[in-house]
């Protein structure tokens, strides 16, 4: 029998209540150094426990960022372990997400012939992933990668990729295939009440639409790719946007026309209604996803929707802090840093 996980939802709301607010961001943006930001987080926010044993004066920026990212993992484990919902397939989505992002990172490092992947490997996931993350970081070629992934579902996904004569694999293609696998698996794991499935599917559809729009915009604006190439690199799902509408957008001759056509879609209108800058499409799409996740968390008592939305909101919060830290580190103007904050 499908049961409710109201205690998990209540726990999420309690943790969400401690999120950073506008004042916290303003305070941090106006700090003079990374150490000051770390000190603020340690003294005034829900990150105090995470940073308790850290000497904020000497902590390395990279380590601070890794710690913040690890806090997402710890919160994820805390929530999914609370009523043992992690036993349900759907709630492993974060592990699959991590596996995919690490495989993609590995491919990029292989292509760049760099061996520096290890420093940012989320080692805390290592006990949960279907392959050894340290082993992954040691891989030097795409063929080696395929052998390494042989016993995982990712082998079947990536085996059709053929690297070029320099051993370089098409990252965009790999990304599309892996994301397609991820979404299919996530959709097939939605064994919940009818209404929960409906809400979760709607949220996933939005994610699909926005990911496709961002990718197609990049391909149009930065690579000047034709419609058929763009279509091939898109996730083979459609959410709120009809296929015809998608085709119309993908066939835009340039970025200006792309924006004009996009502005007439549901998402374009939503961005305009919320006052987001449609010309900064990637940032606005992220803001829109943030808004939808916030609404979903606020309005729904469905556990899958709450977990999915909340973890996304937490990721954005960490991303905001990292934007501030990097902004201060590289002397970016306060206004510019403020414009990067998604709330």
């Amino acid at each position: 029998m499908l049961r409710n996980y109201n205690a998990t939802v209540a726990k999420i709301m309690a943790i969400y209540g401690k999120r950073l607010n506008q004042q916290d961001y303003t305070e941090m943006i106006n700090k003079q150094s990374v150490a000051d930001v770390a000190e603020y987080l340690k003294k005034n926010t829900h990150y105090s426990q995470l940073l308790a044993s850290i000497d904020t004066n000497t902590v390395h920026r990279g380590m601070l960022e890794n710690l913040l990212k690890r806090s997402i993992f710890e919160t994820y484990m805390r929530i999914t372990g609370f009523e043992h919902i992690s036993k349900q397939e759907f709630y492993n989505y974060k592990i699959i997400q991590t596996e995919i992002s690490e495989i993609l990172r590995c491919i990029r490092y292989i292509n760049a012939k760099s061996d520096k992947m290890i420093s940012d490997v989320p080692i805390y996931f290592n006990d949960l992933t279907s392959f050894d993350l340290i082993g992954l970081a040691k891989i030097k070629s795409f063929d080696e990668l395929l052998v390494f992934l042989k016993k995982t579902p990712y082998y079947d996904v990536l085996k059709k990729i053929v690297p070029n004569s320099d051993g370089i694999a098409d990252v965009t293609k790999c990304e599309t295939l892996l994301r397609t696998y991820y979404i299919s698996r996530l959709r097939s794991s939605l064994h919940f009440k009818k209404n929960d499935v409906k809400q979760m599917t709607a949220l996933l559809d939005t994610d699909i639409d926005l990911i496709n729009l961002i990718n197609s915009y990049r391909l149009t604006a930065y690579f000047d790719e034709p419609e058929d190439v763009i279509e091939k690199d898109m996730l083979p799902f459609s959410g709120r946007l009809s296929e015809a509408k998608q085709k119309e957008i993908y066939s835009s001759p340039d970025s200006e026309e792309f924006i004009r056509r996009f502005s007439k879609t549901y998402y374009g209108q939503q961005m305009a209604a919320n006052g987001y800058d449609i010309n900064d499409l990637e940032q606005s799409a992220q803001r829109l996803r943030y808004k939808y996740a916030k609404l979903a968390l606020k309005r729904s008592s469905s556990a899958p929707l709450s977990v999915y939305s909340f973890i996304f909101l937490l990721e954005i919060e960490v991303q905001n802090i990292i934007s501030i830290i990097e902004g201060i580190r590289y002397g970016v103007e306060v206004n510019k840093i403020a414009s990067l904050i998604i709330m």
Partner: protein, 645 residues
Amino acid sequence: MSIEKMELVNIAGLTKDLDTVLVKLSDCGCFHIESASKIATKKSGFTTLKEDNPYTPLLKQLSEISIQSGVKFTGTDYDDVKDESLVKLEQYILGVRKKLDGLKAEEKQACEQLSVHEQAMYQVDHLQGLTADFQQIFHCEHIKVRLGRLPVDSFNKLSYYDDKPFFFTHFSEEKEYYWGMYFVPIAYQEEVDDIFDGLYFERTHIPDFVHGDSKEASTELHNMVESDRNQIEECRLKISNLMEKETDKLCRIFSRLKSQHDNFDLRNKAAIVNDKFYIVGFIPHKESEKFLGMFDDLESVSVVLQPADANGKLEPPIKLKNNKFTQPFSMFVEMYGLPSYNGINPTAFVAVTYTLLFGIMFGDLGQGIVLAIAGALLWKFKKFALGPILTRVGISGAFFGLLYGSVFGYEELLDPMYEALGITFLPFKVMHNVTSILVGAIALGVLIMFISILINIVTGIKNKEYEEALFGNNGIAGLVFFGSILVGAVGTLMGAKLFTPVYVILFMILPLIMMFLREPLSYWVRGKKYVMEGGLTDFIASNFFEVFEFLLGYATNTLSFVRIGGFVLSHASMMLVVMALADQVSAAAVPVVVILGNIFVMGIEGLLVGIQTLRLEFYEIFSRFYSGDGKPFTPVKINYDETID
């Protein structure tokens, strides 16, 4: 009770006597100074003095001494340093400052040394498993050794570098770090250092003063820390001894300089023309004779007294005149704002209504007496301003408790007494007379509102504010309208048919029309021509809504007094609950339940009733006749606070 009568004081004299006059003014404690430039303008040849206060730098030095030493300077008698020259005082202050600075620098140095040693101790304490001598470790010929801490996440990544020529060993671990060291052949030092940099390894630089192995080094560092702490204590003791020796004299110098400083600041308030000065201010009328006598010894100085409102540019300050009973309640009036000079002092009215309303709502003989005693004690030992008010309202609560027959929640305790006295109409059982209580509360509210409106009419006529006094909602028109509705309603309830057409037109519709036209009518009474600003439509619309608001106000304000009855009942109900709880427990626990219940009810109910009564005073009573826009009477005096602008 009224407002203290004031006199406008004009003082003129030669500038050579200005400082002497200012000292006399701040010493007398009854002179409220105004800026003379308000009336003696530049046009008439007057200027104001804009000088740097010569006492400020020395006071700043004293303020620094106070901050550094933590000693507070207070006002004291300074006869023995009265005639000392400023140069001599400066030398003395700077001398003390120099000694203090020296000791503070010594203390700071010791603190810094302590911080360095504590840091090294913290690091060495984490390397307790290391038995080799630090000096030996750092002086290996072919191997480089790095001490420090490695994040836990990075430690878990070390297996990635299995093929690299180094090894890391740890001695202790924290939540986020492993404390230890790595060994690397000198030939690979750069590469391995890069790897550890990428793993966020934080190196510990063991100071040169650390010798031996980790155990010996730790012992040595603990001793150093102990010695640093002793040195800091010694410095603090020296500072304390220095201040003990000098504080008295510094206090006297501070008092003299502060007095001269504040008096010098008053020079800015004077107006100057040629070699003459002019000062203006107010004194209470009763002090005028004594005040005039103060300047007999200064030939050049002349003092002229005028009525307080003689000069339209200067608004007289307000000093409330109250008797012993009403004095504590002036706090509430001041909280709202002081009356204007020609207004009335509402303290007596507040004192009576507050005491009465609180007593009615908090009626319990025992609790009232306890509250009165608590108030008296709070005032005696803590000088708590609410103390005397608690005493008064406590007595009132006790009186009404006597009428209700309630003692600490026991509602039947006084019944035998009334029976013995043959008084049949008492005690007035609250819970048996709910309707009477609520109707009585409204009746009392109406009475208070009537009195408030009457006060407004009297003060309005006195100040020639006819619009408010005659035609306003709190004027005669409002009184007639509100009164006629109440009289008519009560009459109808008693069987008399008062709402006849004549009655309605004369006492209800006509006052409403007067309220609607109050602005033009007040112009007409004053014999002035009324010009309608914004046109007729605007006039009708704004006055229609204002009159509508007046009508709503009468209804809501009247009903607002129902809360008096509500709190009478809630007090009795809460005590009923306490008694019911006491019935449920064993006989031995009854006193505990009753005492705790009484304390709880007194606390909660006392606070609620206090706040609600104040709310009634401010919203339902003051809003009818009181504006609270007066300025307080603040006589000039020396402020012995160390803060210097």
